[in-house]
Amino acid sequence: NAGVTQTPKFRVLKTGQSMTLLCAQDMNHEYMYWYRQDPGMGLRLIHYSVGEGTTAKGEVPDGYNVSRLKKQNFLLGLESAAPSQTSVYFCASSPNWGQVDSGANVLTFGAGSRLTVL
């Protein structure tokens, strides 16, 4: 059982280039999230999805786009990368928060994708 898998693990971009981070989960979770982690800032939510075909903005959505075409996949895109987007990106998934079981409300995280924009 792989859990949450992120690809790529590392990437270096030049300013203005575009790229897509892929997140895949095999737990049949309804909800998926993209966070970025920066030193001294903790984790900040970029975008999230509460179901296939739906997305919503988080705390820091500017400069990013997302898509959830399949339930198991959540893609994070950078159309024109900027040095301020240098960060470690984490994908997470969870069951529907309305579920009544011990696993509800718990996020499972991927191992992270380290992105450097020069």
Partner: protein, 115 residues
């Protein structure tokens, strides 16, 4: 607006001693509170949560947390620290703003346990 604060950037403890990592919160509804741990170069791992019920919540690896409504705190504790507990610890609270189902994280506290 919901928020969570971890007042200490770093906590240093000797192995075998009790440890406490502090967290305070502000929410507009019933508090859903969580602790996650991050080991170097890894994703976050769930430790424990408080949704309702007993104020003392027990979690993974011998950790526990005490929910205190009057002080709006949810401190993480362990009776006897291990060197292997050294990691980055995050407190989180459910975000009631907008659509349901996401967390607001604190900035993290680095726990260092020395032999």
């Amino acid at each position: 607006a919901q928020s969570v604060a971890q007042p200490e950037d770093q906590v240093n403890v000797a192995e075998g001693n009790p440890l406490t990592v502090k967290c305070t919160y502000s929410v507009s509804g019933n508090p859903y509170l969580f602790w996650y741990v991050q080991y170097p170069n890894r994703g976050l791992q769930f430790l424990l949560k408080y949704i309702t019920g007993d104020n003392l919540v027990k979690g993974s690896y011998g950790f526990e947390a005490e929910f205190n409504k009057s002080q709006t705190s949810f401190h993480l504790k362990k009776p006897s620290a291990l060197v292997s507990d050294s990691a980055l610890y995050f407190c989180a609270v459910r975000n009631y703003g907008g659509s349901q189902g996401n967390l607001i994280f604190g900035k993290g506290t680095k726990l260092s346990v020395k032999p």
